[in-house]
Symmetry: C2
Subunit: 306 residues, 2 copies
């Protein structure tokens, strides 16, 4: 048990996009930049900074171009933005973005509610979109959501998520992020999902996107580590969730994940005290207590040497 | 991984004591009874209902006798109460209580702050107290706190906790609850602690008392299960913590633990929907949002059949 965990983990930070897209009151540009700069300062190397979804659907992120024009990623930091269609891709290209993220659901009902089209139709759209992106030298990451369960359909056959993931990789996506979108997962289910995907696809092209809706995200992340997963999505202070999933709340908090990884001696390249501070920046920007724990409790006075 | 977990787990519920003892505004007797009855209704069989610590120290639980006179545990349910000294034991005996809990810290500084005496002196007091209790046919459970770390001393040598636990068992305590009092534990540390105690003492006389201060309680519980632990302390809705530990907040929420156990197919005897309701009762009684997640999110519409 815990004897052969990966030596290092890559964290893909989603707070500026997945976190801020749900805010009732849109966050102003200066605050977004402050958050992104705090995250970069803490050592995060992959940050999803905004979304090129239509501003009619997500007005909170209508300033995507401004964010990406104002913020230049320093050497070694990669920005990405959500992108549902060719219009979004054009916007991404107009600001010189080198990576986008596409998204669909393994549940037909959830996909319809979220994207207003079938998963099959989504795949068709994305096949073309990924080709266009790759031609323009833009990397594409893909989210497959509701892998652990759907708010409308309950349990979704995991083979459905697997075949969707395989097609997205065939299109040319470099990484598939598997989502427990409504945070229903428990460890043995997580083990079964992770083992299946690891054996069929390989962990080097997979990520876990865990929600802490029912408190199990870190336990599931631990199981993912034991299955060899090395990439995890997280959101500082646990902000955000899925706006189309009733009852959903709380991405896994980056500082809680990093605290656990740090205690396990797993390298992340993140400076934990600065990340705690970034969580507090998020709380100040949003003017309310946020679910992440470590940014609230702070670090212990002295840690056991790792 | 996860292949040989215990088939059933016993949950020791601490919310009426460890939860309510920290409230700035003491909770009234009727609300305490409502909480205890909700817990019994959800199927909890072991409940620490109050404390016989001096009312000067913990005025919130000054009504311990009333709670224990008014509430009669139904067949199969065991009540307990915290008891620091012979005065407390007398009070427990006066209401016919059949089980008490004693507590001390593996950290000298924490023990002084919490009990105003050395651990050695605490052990002397408890040796006598346990003998008196056993004579009166009262079972004694013991908490050993700060096993994962102390807010004042940092890391505490785990052999200290082990020798304290061994002495308490020699006195006649039936179970030792090992506490991550300030919620600093991470999974590999937890594995090391659990494996040591399991091999030196045996899991049938041990419990884990995990705090979720830094979000790691369920991941640590999972590790405990893998080490064969079958008894876990928890507090519905995650209420309570340790009043003498700066920065400490949040017992592991009973509903979050039970949700995970349920998903793992581990029997608890608890009816999860009723437990979710008990968590909401706690939130109503305390008039504020509480940290437990499942009582907030609710159960998924349909669960994967276990």
């Amino acid at each position: 048990m815990l004897d052969s965990l990966p030596p290092r983990v890559s964290i893909y930070e989603v707070s500026p996009r997945d976190g801020l897209q749900n805010e009732a009151t849109p966050v102003d540009l200066a605050s977004k930049k402050l958050l992104i700069e705090s995250l970069i300062g803490a050592g995060l190397k992959r940050i999803e900074v905004s979304s090129f979804v239509s501003p009619r659907w997500v007005p909170q992120l209508a300033d995507a171009e401004s964010v990406l024009t104002d913020e230049i990623p320093p050497e070694g930091v990669r920005f990405s933005a959500l992108c549902p269609n060719s219009k979004g891709l054009e916007r991404a290209m107009s600001v010189g973005l080198k990576e986008i993220a596409i998204f669909l659901s393994s549940s037909e009902t959830h996909n319809h509610k979220n994207l207003n089209r079938s998963t099959e139709r989504s795949l068709d759209v994305y096949e073309e979109l990924v080709a266009l992106a790759l031609e323009a030298n833009i990397r594409v990451r893909a989210y497959v959501s509701t892998v652990w369960g759907c708010p409308y359909e309950g349990t979704v056959p995991v083979n459905r998520a697997l075949s969707i993931a395989q097609r997205l990789l065939e299109f040319g996506c470099y990484e598939i992020s598997l989502g427990d979108t409504i945070g229903v997962g428990t460890p043995r289910q997580t083990r079964d999902i992770c083992q299946l995907f690891a054996s069929e696809i390989g962990v080097d092209r997979l990520a876990l996107h865990l929600h802490d809706t029912r408190g199990t995200a870190l336990a599931n992340a631990l199981v993912g580590l034991e299955c060899g997963f090395q990439t995890f999505d997280a959101s500082v202070a646990g902000i955000g969730g899925c706006p189309y999933a009733p009852g959903a709340a709380g991405n896994l908090a980056t500082e809680d994940l990093t605290y656990m990884l740090d205690g396990l001696g797993i390298e992340t390249g993140i400076h934990l005290p600065a990340l705690v501070e970034a969580g507090r920046v998020a709380a100040r920007i949003l003017h309310r207590p946020l679910p992440g724990k470590v940014h609230q409790a702070g670090l212990p006075r002295r840690r056991r040497p790792s």
